[in-house]
Symmetry: C2
Subunit: 205 residues, 2 copies
Amino acid sequence: MHDAREVVVLRYGHRPGRDDRMTTHVGLTARALGADRVIFPDNAGQSAETVRDITDRFGGPFAVELRDDQKAIVRDFEGVVAHLTMYGERVQDVEEDVREAVGLGGSDATDGESTPRDLLVVVGGEKVPWALYERADFNVGVTNQPHSEVAGLAVFLDRLFEGAELDREWENADRRVMPEATGKTVIDAGEGPAGDDNSETGDRG
Amino acid sequence: MHDAREVVVLRYGHRPGRDDRMTTHVGLTARALGADRVIFPDNAGQSAETVRDITDRFGGPFAVELRDDQKAIVRDFEGVVAHLTMYGERVQDVEEDVREAVGLGGSDATDGESTPRDLLVVVGGEKVPWALYERADFNVGVTNQPHSEVAGLAVFLDRLFEGAELDREWENADRRVMPEATGKTVIDAGEGPAGDDNSETGDRG
């Protein structure tokens, strides 16, 4: 979302069939809430296709990658690694540190902004290896309760960007939903009304 | 989460098998992020069981209900109804109105707090009826992008409670996760170490 810094979400582990929808939702949430790119395991091709299809229709830029080397991605990432886990430090305690580490901090006028650095946000699927806990610059718990990796990612990104992601403009969108109090209005890129479109649930992975 | 006001999450629609995990994650997210109760359709018994089991082990209070009369629940709800939908008004534009409507607003010292009212947060699963859009006091879009009902619920609750839900204390918990920078520590209710417990992913629906 920010030119000088890339925020990448890595979905760690994927069980085809069983995890398809969760992985798809991780990807769509990453896109909708300000990440620049998502990396799925290479056995998550169906989820990748869904997220790419949504990006084609609703805009970007947003990249989807399939990779088979998740351990290496984490190990070799040149930037800050934040691993979301219910065993981690409380998000409310470390979010400012994460923001500062990637150059999003410095709201204090005397501070100035720190240098932008890339951020890898790791979202566990299957059991993650212990090495990930050790490599991570931050192990972050969005609550220390068992809930949902999609929910954790959503709250983490909203806090990382302090809500700025909600005002993002989308490029090369074929269609756009008009926010309204009561209605379901989708317009096409040419700004003419495209009529109701009930198929856009993002919920086909 | 607040004594004088009940926040209830209604999962609208559920397809057994296909939706089990999403519905479970809606329930666990509602619990973890400050709601008092979740209502599932009566065909979501498996998800209800999982959420109850997590509540038994990790604490409450949090209630799980199965009901077959979702339309009536929405129609007859005595309080404020917020329906999460990608077609709705932008969450950043209406969150203060929602907070004020349920008596969570009034940060302005001259305002005072408004009267606490119950809040029903409706999370769509299958296609929701048009009557729901009309009955809702607020149709709210956590972005107007297709992503995930779990992500939308998470961001909505975090903004509704302004993060206060993250400091919630849990009662009658058998076990508790200790937040830490690198580690996976679970203690039992007697405060003795219970050792590693890798099974708590909340991810069995």
